[in-house]
């Protein structure tokens, strides 16, 4: 059985975590999913994300969340890192601007996408 995948090795998308072109976080809320633009700091392998202190729908400690870091506007330029995990509240990293609530995403699953690398693979290879 073969199928099409856009997945690439996470290491190949490392630059997205270093540059953070765009980042957002999704969590489940009482009235449906929440999506929040976040400030992301990838420090020593830790995913530190911040939202404005007054932002509605922010995550709670221990809550499951998905972090999306992506870039590109044209199809073959689209790349992304998608990380699912749980958030914990943390202190702001040194030098971070004030007025933000900081979280650390403890990753459970991480996937990188690159549409330029769309290809057919066998299920065993996915």
């Amino acid at each position: 059985m073969r199928r099409v995948t856009r997945n690439v090795d996470l290491e190949a998308a490392r630059d997205l975590l270093e540059r953070v072109p765009r980042a957002c976080l999704a969590v489940a809320g009482e009235d449906g999913p929440q999506a929040l633009p976040v400030m992301l700091a990838w420090r020593d392998g830790r995913y530190l994300a911040a939202i404005a202190e007054d932002a509605p729908g922010g995550p709670s400690a221990g809550q499951e969340a998905v972090l999306l870091v992506d870039e590109g506007v044209h199809f073959l330029d689209l790349r992304a890192v998608y990380i699912r995990g749980r958030v914990e509240t943390v202190e702001a990293p040194e030098g971070a601007p004030s007025g933000r609530s900081w979280f650390e995403l403890l990753p459970g699953k991480a996937v990188a996408w690159e549409y330029r690398k769309l290809r057919e693979v066998s299920d065993e290879g996915c």
């Binding site: 099409v4 765009r22 999913p33 999506a35 499951e64 998905v66 999306l68 590109g72 506007v73």
Partner: protein, 139 residues
């Protein structure tokens, strides 16, 4: 803020990629970038029906969608829309039909090399709650 607010329309006009947050059947969050088009007050997001986003919308139509002006990094506005989406099948893959659309939240990810029918998300402008915020700064 209304969907027809000039600030909303301005971000939608300049944005190219929507990020749609959806809940799974079990309530787990997900968020995916999709291309979108806005046509006649509706936003259409293009994808194929086997994607997680499409399957989630079929299970629970509640969505939140983010829009940014990707091509202008100096524009820090982020439009956030709350609404309901539905999956509209549009036949065989065709870039044009893929981007069938509606008013605040749509986009097509890859019409990949599959032969699956293309699907689009459609959400009506009515019932959406757009907000324009400043993008969180980069660390």
């Amino acid at each position: 803020m209304k969907a027809a607010d000039p600030a909303v329309l301005e971000v939608l006009r300049r944005s190219m990629v929507a990020r749609i947050a959806t809940p799974s059947r079990n309530g787990r969050p997900s968020i995916n970038p999709l291309y979108f088009v806005q046509v006649n007050g509706q936003i259409w997001l293009g994808t194929v029906e086997w994607t997680l986003a499409a399957r989630n919308v079929q299970a629970d139509p509640r969505v939140r969608v983010l829009f940014e002006v990707e091509r202008d990094p100096s524009d820090a506005r982020v439009l956030r829309i709350r609404g309901r989406a539905r999956v509209a099948r549009t036949g065989r893959r065709s870039v044009r039909t893929t981007f069938v659309s509606h008013a605040s939240t749509c986009r097509r990810p890859g019409e990949s090399a599959t032969r699956s029918p293309m699907s689009g998300f459609c959400g009506s402008a009515a019932g959406t709650t757009p907000r324009v915020r400043r993008r969180a700064d980069r660390a």
